[in-house]
């Protein structure tokens, strides 16, 4: 199509949109949200399965978080009592590692990158959440949402490539405004009127795509792919606008909650926990309203700068410098932080469990992969990095509540399993020693 034809197409499209805009699309409210079984939407489509990651730095204490037995009904390990209420929805993976394959260790980063992207090298591979979002998030307003409990936009483990790092939102109030501000179309509103301004903006925005080929022709291969990434983002923005122009499907579980009040943000654990709680609530509303199907939560940075208020020592420094207590057999200072972090993870699961959706809860249809970046922070080890999968029991896609031991196998086995369970057609994943074609079959429903 030449430029003139493309423009003509757009003009016709716009005329169509205009004609539609004249009518207020009114649908009967609360007619029927779900099918009789509560497992599908009114139009027959199944309730979606969502995915999330939950990251924290500096790991857990080796020997204190791994269950003693394999499979289901494991006894809760010493370090995880707060997760006991979710045991039937919580799989624990021990003994899975990141191989460096000769790539330099980037302390407190490499371990997580290996598990999230399948490589610790210079490769451009996207993180697991991006693969899943690309496969499942096309019909939501936000392909994914990233948040940092410490308020630091750099705290993120989500990336499309080396050039596209998905920065975190650091303020719950800002996230709320982004989600439920004027652009939000309430799926349960009685009537729907497409916003003329959005319509006009979308039309004009597509005009900047016209010279794309000429622009790309001036670039080398690496820059061309960065330009492609820009246009991928532009297409996603256009999809956001498309969704704003359509009457959304009613969603019983959707409500917008209340706008959070700004609270202090920083490196104190109590601040991170309080902000995380607000984020968890907003994310639950976002998922229930189908604004996104993928979320990435960073509780802390990799070299965790979390600390107790009024104390100079960060969690990271505690892990390196605390002596091992003779009687306890571990570093009590570091363990205090691990306990606080796991309490917040439990709080996220509780928030998701408290939202009813169909015949279950949001947690039943959300698979959250929690992971850290090292096995033993004191020594920067990449062996047995803690990985959990929580939720998803009601999705019918994944088996839950198991302890699986990896015996030094690559952590990508967990990610490959999740991809296959969520319906991605992928046989193998990862690079070098992180490459695996072996999903954890005990999890596949």
């Amino acid at each position: 199509m030449n430029v003139a034809q493309r423009l003509a197409t757009r003009r016709n499209f716009m005329r169509g949109m205009l004609a539609g805009a004249a009518i207020n699309v009114a649908l009967p409210f609360l007619d029927c949200f779900l099918n009789a079984n509560g497992t599908a939407l009114a139009d027959g489509a199944p309730l979606p399965t969502r995915f999330g990651t939950w990251f924290w730095g500096c790991g857990l204490t080796p020997g204190r978080w791994e269950p003693k037995t394999l499979g289901a009904n494991y006894a809760m390990p010493d370090e995880l009592p707060m997760l006991a209420p979710y045991r039937d929805q919580l799989s624990i993976f021990s003994g899975f590692k990141t191989f460096l394959d000769g790539n330099g260790l980037v302390p407190h980063v490499s371990g997580q990158r290996g598990i999230m992207t399948g490589t610790t090298g210079k490769e451009n591979d996207p993180s697991l959440d991006v693969l899943i979002a690309d496969a499942t998030g096309a019909n939501t307003r936000f392909r994914s949402l990233e948040v940092s409990a410490m308020g630091n936009p750099n705290n993120t483990i989500s990336r499309r490539s080396n050039s596209v790092i998905n920065a975190s939102e650091g303020s719950p109030a800002a996230l709320y405004a982004r989600l439920f501000g004027p652009e939000f179309k309430d799926p349960n509103a009685a009537d729907f009127k497409p916003d003329l301004r959005v319509m006009a903006e979308k039309s004009v925005l597509s005009a900047i795509k016209e010279p794309r080929d000429t622009l790309a022709g001036q670039l080398g291969a690496a820059d061309k792919s960065r330009l492609d990434e820009y246009f991928t983002s532009l297409r996603q923005i256009e999809q956001q606008m498309d969704l704003q122009l359509q009457k959304p499907q009613p969603l019983e579980a959707c409500s917008v909650g209340t706008k959070p009040v700004e609270i202090p943000t920083g490196t104190e654990v109590a601040m991170a926990a309080a902000n995380h709680k607000l984020f968890a609530q907003i994310l639950a509303h976002a998922i229930a309203c189908d604004q996104t199907r993928v979320m990435n939560v960073s509780f802390s940075d990799g070299a965790s700068s979390l600390r107790r208020g009024g104390e100079p020592t960060t969690q990271h420094i505690h892990t390196h410098e605390d002596p091992i207590d003779d009687k306890l057999g571990y570093q009590p200072g570091a363990a205090w932080f691990e306990n606080q972090i796991m309490l917040s993870f439990a709080a996220l699961l509780e928030t998701l469990k408290n939202v009813r959706e169909g015949d279950g809860t949001l947690l039943d249809r959300t698979v959250v992969m929690a992971l850290s970046e090292c096995g033993y922070a004191k020594q920067h080890t990449l062996e047995s990095i803690p990985i959990f999968l929580a939720g998803g029991k009601g999705s019918g896609k994944i088996k839950t509540g198991l302890h699986v031991k990896g015996d030094g196998e690559p952590g990508t086995r967990v990610g490959l399993t999740v991809q296959q369970c969520l319906g991605l057609s992928v046989n193998s994943w990862g690079v070098g020693s992180m490459r695996t074609a072996r999903p954890l079959t005990e999890l596949i429903a």
Partner: protein, 570 residues
């Protein structure tokens, strides 16, 4: 080209940046041309597609639309690579959430441009009817603003669809200005604006950047903003195709007070001041630290730098020993120096010059709060972090990452009565074989700064033990921080690092092999001959033939010997 120039109604800039050539005293000893450039064998490097940094975006908006235009929304974090954000910008693209934010900012900016206060002064045509499309007025505005936003004449392929879409938008929303406002907001989200595009062209003596790319490279390097009207006009008229034309524009840019913005941008980047955005200090331990103090700390260092390098035209190396500085009241509280309002030289904004007296433990920018606080933990100092920062940011030396599976048992706890000071605790690094190799690069330097706590306050001791600030850097021994400053001043890597990094900053990528040779030999000896002065160095870079020479983006930039046979660079 005819069709392109036809749609540019006169090419009148919306805002003509003040461009008076003010030859200040600091330019008196500017050097002449670069006759000795050994560029015959220097092939240049690949052109770069750089995402505008946060500062460049803000500067460009302010220059094009006015200082009072507010930018709503948040920027994606800049990416730092090889020690510079300006190099990371050449690797960054735009994530969806980032483009969403650019969209927010674009709408906010466009709404202000079209509000009552600004519209008539920024848009110099009137539509035939306010409620109907007017392609002529839309084209006039979009081509004028497009030239400034895209930093070249927009093509028919770019303008045509925008004009058409603007008319459609006008019809949808029923107002000409609202339609045009939406078109402007789209342009502000276009890759041509968000990225600095460098386009190669074939010249008589090999490939160079085209004239508009040259203009942008010059302007971002020297002013940290998009080219102004005069520079774009120079590009359009072919002035930047000749060494004389380039030298004329370079002199104009160097003579402008806006050079200070460019110099500040470079040093803020080099010193990693973006790190302050996420720097936390424990308020219970350091009640004097605040976001405002962090701003002032950066300002102090940037004022010291621009005063020394631009106003006084000083030797770059003296930045590490100078006792001249500036203070604000919050800084005075940390330094323990009264800052009375009516001190000589005090300005209404609360700043005043201050000379640290002889005998004061502080000298040079490494002993200012900005360096000391940025490279410390939230509640205590870190000689390792400070030593690493000095190696990497000031000397351009890479400290390797620590290996995996390190046993840190030896770096003992602070409560051990045998090890009261950090020096004693860190002695473990010097005895453990896996640590010693790298830590001997960092710790002895950082320990020299132990008299300054995590926010830079002076302290004579730690845990009631006196602090021993003696140390050694690459064979040069010193007794205290002052001695460290002198050692850094005299270290050959200090000036070589500035030459290398400033060049990397100016081209937005690490230098290629052949460029590195040129930097080491010609540019370095020029810098020495200039008495290590910054402005002549910037001039040497900007007027050198190497600066604009490019190789094909996909060829690994290697020295091209054949080029010398063709007399390239004369």
């Amino acid at each position: 080209m005819a069709s392109k120039s036809k749609i540019l109604w006169g090419g009148i800039a919306l805002v003509v940046v003040a461009a008076a050539v003010v030859a200040g005293p600091r330019l008196m000893d500017r050097q002449g041309g670069n006759k000795s450039d050994g560029i015959a064998a220097t092939a240049g490097g690949p052109p770069v597609l750089r995402r505008l940094t946060q500062a460049q975006y803000k500067h460009a908006i302010a220059d094009i639309f006015g200082n009072d235009i507010k930018i709503g929304g948040r920027f994606d974090p800049d990416i730092r690579e090889s020690g510079l954000i300006e190099v990371g910008a050449g690797k960054a693209s735009v994530p969806e959430s980032g483009l969403e934010q650019y969209g927010k900012m674009a709408r906010t900016v466009a709404a202000q441009v079209f509000d009552k206060q600004h519209r008539d002064s920024l848009i110099d045509c009137k539509p035939a009817s306010v409620t109907a499309p007017d392609d002529k007025c839309a084209a006039q505005f979009l081509s004028q603003v497009g030239r400034l936003l895209y930093r070249r004449l927009p093509t028919q392929d770019e303008l045509g669809p925008l004009i058409l879409a603007s008319a459609e938008a006008t019809k949808i929303v029923g107002n000409f200005y609202a339609g045009l406002e939406i078109a402007l907001s789209s342009m502000l989200q276009a890759p041509q604006f968000l990225f600095d595009w460098e386009v190669p062209q074939k010249g008589p003596s090999g490939k160079t950047l085209d004239a508009y790319s040259k203009a942008a490279r010059l302007s971002f390097f020297l002013w940290d903003t998009a080219p102004d009207d005069e520079l774009l006009t120079a590009a359009q008229h072919g002035d930047l195709d000749t060494p004389k034309g380039i030298a004329g524009q370079v002199d104009r840019l160097l003579a402008s007070p806006r050079l200070e913005t460019g110099v500040r941008a470079y040093f803020a980047d080099m010193l990693g001041f973006d790190g302050f955005d996420n720097l936390a200090k424990d308020p219970a331990i350091y009640p004097k630290y605040s976001f405002g103090l962090a701003i002032d700390a950066q300002e102090q260092t940037l004022r010291t730098i621009t005063d020394h390098l631009l106003t006084r035209n000083g030797d770059y190396r003296d930045l590490f020993t100078t006792r001249n500085s500036f203070l604000s009241r919050p800084l005075g509280a940390v330094y323990g120096i009264p800052v009375p309002k009516d001190a000589p030289g005090a300005t209404p904004d609360g700043w005043q010059p201050y000379v640290f007296p002889a005998g004061d433990p502080r000298s040079g920018i490494l002993m200012q709060i900005s360096f000391l606080a940025l490279h410390s933990h939230p509640g205590r100092t870190s000689p390792t972090l400070r030593g690493k920062a000095l190696r990497e940011t000031i000397l351009c030396q890479k400290v390797p990452d620590p290996p995996g599976n390190v046993n840190f048992n030896l770096v003992q706890d602070t409560k051990n009565p045998l090890y009261k000071t950090v020096r004693q605790r860190l002695s473990a690094h010097a005895t453990a074989p896996t640590c010693v190799g790298c830590h001997k690069m960092m710790d002895p330097i950082g320990l020299a700064l132990e008299n300054f706590d995590s926010i830079g306050t002076y302290r004579a001791g730690e845990n009631e033990a006196a602090i021993d600030a003696s140390g050694e850097i690459d064979g040069v021994k010193f007794n205290d921080a002052d001695g460290l400053g002198k050692a850094v001043h005299d270290h050959p890597a200090t000036s070589a690092c500035l030459v290398n990094r400033l060049y990397a900053y100016s081209v937005g990528r690490t230098p290629t092999k052949s460029e590195t040779e040129w930097l080491r030999s010609d540019l370095m000896s020029g810098f020495v001959a200039d008495g290590y002065r910054l402005q002549p160095l910037m001039r040497r870079i900007a007027t050198s033939d190497v600066f604009f020479r490019v190789v094909s983006p996909d060829s690994e930039a290697k020295p091209v010997r054949s080029a010398s046979a063709q007399g390239v660079g004369q």
